[in-house]
Symmetry: C2
Subunit: 316 residues, 2 copies
C-alpha cells in the first residue's frame, strides 16, 4: 500500500486489535481511525469515551491485556476509596485511566473539541496515526430493552448486556456533524482503502454511520470499503454481537452482517471457519483466519485486508 | 467537662491537631468543629476543601503524618499520569484523596449542601464529632500581594507563600450565611466552651469570623471563648503566620494576636516559651507547652484548654 492513506471505522476492543495491526503494517501516519463515540457517557462528573480510550491505549502500547479495557500497570486506590465512601462503583476507573478522564473533561469544559482533546492526548502518547471521534458533537447510544430504555453503559457495563435488546437509537446523531478531520481523511486524494473493523455492527459501527454525511463521505471517493467479520462460527470473539442479533430476530451469520452493510461495502473478510458461506455472498469475499490472538495475527490480518482492498480497488 | 458541648473554630494542620486532642479527651459527640472554607477552590473540575479534609482525615486517623495534608498509605498514579498528559500538577492529589473530591463535587452538583456532604463523609469515616463548614455558601480567600491579587491556593501552594501579602479579603463572605449546624451548636444550652484553635488568625480564622452573624453567635451565649496561640517564640510551628504578620506591619507576637481577637475572646493560651509576655495581656492567660508533637501532647493541651475555659466560665 506504500504511503497511501487508509481509514478504518472502529469501536472498542475488537476494532482496536485490527487498528493496531494496521498501525504496525502501514507507515504510521498513513492510518486514520474514526472511532465510535456512542458509548461515551458522563459519570462521576467526567466525560468518559471508552472506545476512543481503548484505541489510544492500544496504539500507545498502554492497554491492559487482561481486562481488555483500561491501562496496564494500573492501580485502583481511587475506586477502592470511592467504594468506602458509598459512591457508585459499577464502572471501574483505574487511577491512571482517571487522569485522562479528568483532563479531557477539563479541556471540553474549556470549549476544546473532542477531536482536539484526543489529538493532544495521542500526541502525548507518541501515536502517529490520526485518531478521531466520529463527531465532536455528543451522540449517545440508547438501548430499548424489555426492561425499558437504558443508557448504553447502563446496559453494557452495569447490567452486563443481560436485558433483551428490542432496538437501538443514537440520541443526538441527527444533529451531529461528522468530525472535520474525518471528512478531510475521507476526502484525501491518496486515500486507498476504507475498512470497517470487526466491531459490533449494531453497537459500534452503526452509531458512526448514523452521523449525517458519514455514509456519503465513505462512498464519495469510490475507494474500496471492506468490512471484516465480527462473527466467527456464529459467535463474536468477545461481546454480545450474536446475543443482540438473536434478540433483534437476525440470524447470527456473517451473511446478515454483509447484508446490513449492503450499499456501503465492496468486499467482506470472512473467517475460515465460515468458509462454507462464501458462495452465498453477493460481493467479493476474502476468507482467512480473523481471530487475532497475538500481535503477529493482527499484523497478518491487517496485511491481508489491505491486499484484499487493493485487489478490489484495481478491479474497480 | 462531662458531656457538655464544646465548639472549636479551626483551619487546617495546626487546628486539626488540637481538634484531635479535643476529640479524644471529650465524649466524641460533644465536640463540634467549625472549619474554614476560605481555602476551598475549584481545580481540575473538582471542589476541593483542604481544611475540612485535613480535619476529616485527622479525626478518622487517616491523615498523612509526613506531608501534613492528604491521606496516609496514599498512591500517586493519577498525579503521575496527569503530569504525563501535560496537565497542571502543582496541587498534589493522591488517588484516595481524589475519591473524596470527586464524590463531594458530584454531591454538590446534585444540590446537596456542603454541610450535608461533610456529615455523610464523616459518618462513613466513623467520626462522631460534628464537622461543619463555616458556611454552605462559597467564600474564597483572596490575597492581595505585591505581585497582584491571587486566589488563595495560587498564593499558598503554587507560589509557596512567596509573594508579599498586602491585604486579605474573603470573596463571597458578605453574602454567605453561617452554616445552620454551626448556629445550632453555638446556641446549644449545654455549650460550655468555644475554642479558637492555633490556626493562622489571618488566613484560617478570619474567614470564619467574616461570615455575617458568626461573631454575634460566638458571643451570644456568654460561654468563654479561648484562643490558643499559633505563635511560639515569634514563629509559627508550621506555615506563614509570622511572615504574613511582618508583611502586614504587625509585630509577630501573641500579644498582637490577642489584640486581633479583642472583644471576641475571654482567655488566651500562651506558650511557655513566651511566658515573659504574660503580664502584658489584658485578659486571663494560661501558660503551657503548646507545641503538640505527639498525640499525648495534643490530649494534654486539649485538657488544659478545657480546664482553663471552665475556670473562666465559673468566674464569669
Amino acid at each position: 500500500m506504500s504511503a497511501a492513506r487508509v481509514v478504518a471505522l472502529s469501536g472498542g476492543i475488537g476494532g482496536a486489535k485490527l487498528a493496531l495491526g494496521l498501525y504496525r503494517v502501514l507507515p504510521p501516519s498513513a492510518l486514520t481511525l474514526i472511532v465510535n463515540t456512542g458509548d461515551d457517557f458522563e459519570h462521576l462528573g467526567l466525560t468518559i469515551c471508552p472506545d476512543l480510550d481503548t484505541t489510544l491505549y492500544t496504539l500507545a502500547g498502554l492497554a491492559n491485556p487482561e481486562l481488555g479495557w483500561g491501562r496496564r500497570d494500573e492501580t485502583w486506590t481511587f475506586m477502592k476509596t470511592l467504594e468506602s465512601l458509598g459512591a457508585e462503583t459499577w464502572f471501574r476507573l483505574g487511577d491512571a485511566d482517571l487522569a485522562l478522564h479528568v483532563e479531557r473533561t477539563q479541556r471540553l469544559k474549556a470549549n476544546q473539541t473532542l477531536s482536539a482533546v484526543i489529538a493532544a492526548v495521542a500526541a502525548r502518547f507518541g501515536i502517529q496515526a490520526t485518531i478521531l471521534p466520529m463527531s465532536d458533537d455528543p451522540v449517545r447510544t440508547r438501548v430499548a430493552t424489555a426492561e425499558g430504555e437504558l443508557a448504553f453503559q447502563d446496559y453494557f457495563v452495569r447490567l452486563r448486556c443481560a436485558p433483551e435488546v428490542r432496538s437501538l437509537h443514537f440520541a443526538g446523531a441527527a444533529a451531529a456533524a461528522v468530525a472535520p478531520g474525518a471528512l478531510a481523511a475521507l476526502a484525501a486524494p491518496d486515500l486507498e482503502a476504507i475498512i470497517l473493523a470487526p466491531s459490533n455492527p449494531y453497537l459500534s459501527v452503526d452509531p458512526i454511520l448514523a452521523v449525517p454525511g458519514m455514509r456519503a463521505a465513505l462512498r464519495a471517493r469510490g475507494v474500496p470499503v471492506i468490512a471484516v467479520t465480527p462473527l466467527v462460527g456464529g459467535q463474536a470473539i468477545k461481546g454480545p454481537t450474536a446475543k443482540i442479533m438473536g434478540e433483534l430476530q437476525l440470524a447470527p451469520s456473517p451473511l446478515t452482517i454483509a447484508r446490513h452493510y449492503a450499499g456501503l461495502i465492496d468486499g467482506f473478510v470472512l473467517d475460515e471457519r465460515d468458509a462454507a458461506l462464501a458462495p452465498q455472498f453477493a460481493l467479493p469475499v476474502h476468507v482467512t483466519d480473523t481471530v487475532m490472538v497475538e500481535l503477529a495475527g493482527r499484523e497478518r490480518l491487517a496485511r491481508e485486508v489491505l491486499h484484499f482492498a487493493s485487489r478490489i480497488g484495481r478491479r474497480a
